[in-house]
Symmetry: C2
Subunit: 313 residues, 2 copies
């Protein structure tokens, strides 16, 4: 019997990871977005948004979830329409890959209803189009890990090449989301257009060290390598309290700390769950003291699963 | 009974590996330098050079091998002098870490004679001083793999931090040394002082991919990642025939090809020993055709052992 209603979850992601600007990202367990898709006789797409973060567009042409779903319907022309509901749990402009999670969950949900579902990695090109709608540019460093799970390298866009990074999953990732918004576009416009060779060399040394540390589960090495002298110095100016909170994270036992995606969320690297708890609490306290903003704190190992789909008949 | 005469071998190295400029290097099996050290009653250092590459300085203050040996004698003040003979097999200015191999072999040989020998990684700081003498700057991307074996990341110089890269040793490395010399200093002076951010991003994506490919033994990925848009375009101008030889390597089955160290040697990435043989022959032929220079060709997996010491009583 064919599946008629499916519900897909797609997790939040930490992109950039310090030195891996525009090329590295990893999935965490929480938060994430849900998308429910149901077949309907009417061959069109109907769309609605619920959940606590309803500031996203509900117009089906402007929301990334419905946009991705429509692309897939246009290409695969299934003999039915789809009723799509985005359960939006992730705040937008958080630096946690909110639009990527919506895009991925929509792609996974629609795919599960198709007569001949695609393989998971084949959904990447659709989910990326959602990111393009959201940011005006092609980015896969959130989409790829949210879809595939684990830590991903986006090595190239033309052709698109995503490489899974081997992960020894012992490190805990602390993500702190202060309740303020940074516009990805603004965070991108303030970037330098060129970098001194010396800094670039140091940077790619850190990228290599980060990759090694992920594959060996070396929290100390990964922490040292999330140093970023190119992007963090300019983007941190958009996050009130950044330097105090980073200091608090390191003082509480984090081996490293930087900006998640384009911010304002920060992530910290912890060698154990107990250390992660202490670090998260210290960062939250410091954001309250320094910037008078409340925070959500998430603790997670790398989510190796990526998007997941459940269904009802 | 105490060792009285030791002979140490230190292997050649491929530094930079394309995108890992100044931070990555790996050891190969051949060529390499030998240093023999013998105790003598006279508490001084006596030094001589033999071997086929005798263009190196034979003055003990100017040769890297004797310079490193003298540093160690000065620091550890053993109750004997040392007679040091450098058997110089590696051409200088080859891009294969010639001075690093001499420095490492000298450090390993002298160390083996010491009443309380140091651990191998503790020799790094002495061998690096040899490199400083040779190039005027502190570099460890040849020294570290020649000493420790395997593939190494030099993540930082202050403090010095060398990280071993996990290696699944299935890839074959083809090294072709054309009989011409490139002065490291000149190769360094023509480098750009800054790089466009876009290129830098592409570059650190390749560094990450290279690191992953080494650890998974993925010759195709490693080959794609040895692309280098920053250093190769300027340094290749110092190597007559570079572009033709690279093309010949790729046509013969190499998955990637770039400059070893500061050149003029090239390296190519091969998925098998038989492919490596074909690639090496094609590159040699092309150098003869394009630049009328003869070449030495070396085929090797990663040398995981690094320097090694044998002794006679």
């Amino acid at each position: 019997m064919r599946k008629r209603i499916v519900r897909a979850f797609a997790p939040a992601t930490i992109a950039n990871l310090g030195p891996g600007f525009d090329v590295l990202g990893l999935a965490i367990d929480r938060p994430g977005d849900f998308v429910t898709a149901a077949r309907q006789l009417d061959p069109s797409l109907t769309f609605s948004v619920r959940g606590k973060e309803r500031t996203v567009p509900s117009d089906a042409r402007k929301n990334v979830a419905s946009f991705v779903a429509q692309l897939m319907l246009d290409e695969f022309k299934p003999p039915f329409g789809i009723q799509l509901v985005l359960d939006k749990r992730m705040p937008i402009g958080s630096g946690l890959g909110s639009s990527a999670a919506s895009s991925v969950a929509a792609a996974a949900a629609v795919n599960a209803l198709l007569p001949k579902p695609l393989k998971r990695h084949e959904l990447l090109r659709f989910a990326i189009e959602g990111e393009r709608l959201a940011s005006g540019a092609m980015h896969a460093d959130n989409v790829a890990p949210s879809l595939l799970g684990g830590a991903c390298l986006v090595r190239s866009y033309d052709p698109l090449e995503v490489v899974r990074i081997p992960v020894r999953n012992t490190i805990f990732w602390v993500v702190v989301h202060p309740h303020m918004e940074v516009r990805t576009e603004e965070a991108r416009n303030i970037l330098p257009t060129s970098v001194p060779l010396e800094k670039a060399i140091h940077h790619w040394g850190n990228v290599a060290g980060l990759t090694i540390g992920l594959s060996t589960g070396d929290a100390a090495l990964v922490g040292r390598c999330v140093a970023d002298e190119i992007v963090e110095p300019v983007r941190s100016s958009l996050i009130p309290g950044f330097h105090d909170v980073k200091k608090a994270a390191l003082a509480a036992g984090a081996t490293g700390c930087s900006i998640s995606g384009s911010g304002p969320s920060l992530f910290a690297v912890a060698p154990s769950r107990s250390a992660a708890k202490k670090i998260g609490a210290a960062m939250k306290r410091q954001f309250a003291t320094s910037s008078r903003v409340a925070c959500d704190v998430y603790l997670s190992r790398v989510n190796m699963e990526g998007t997941r789909v459940g269904w009802r008949q």
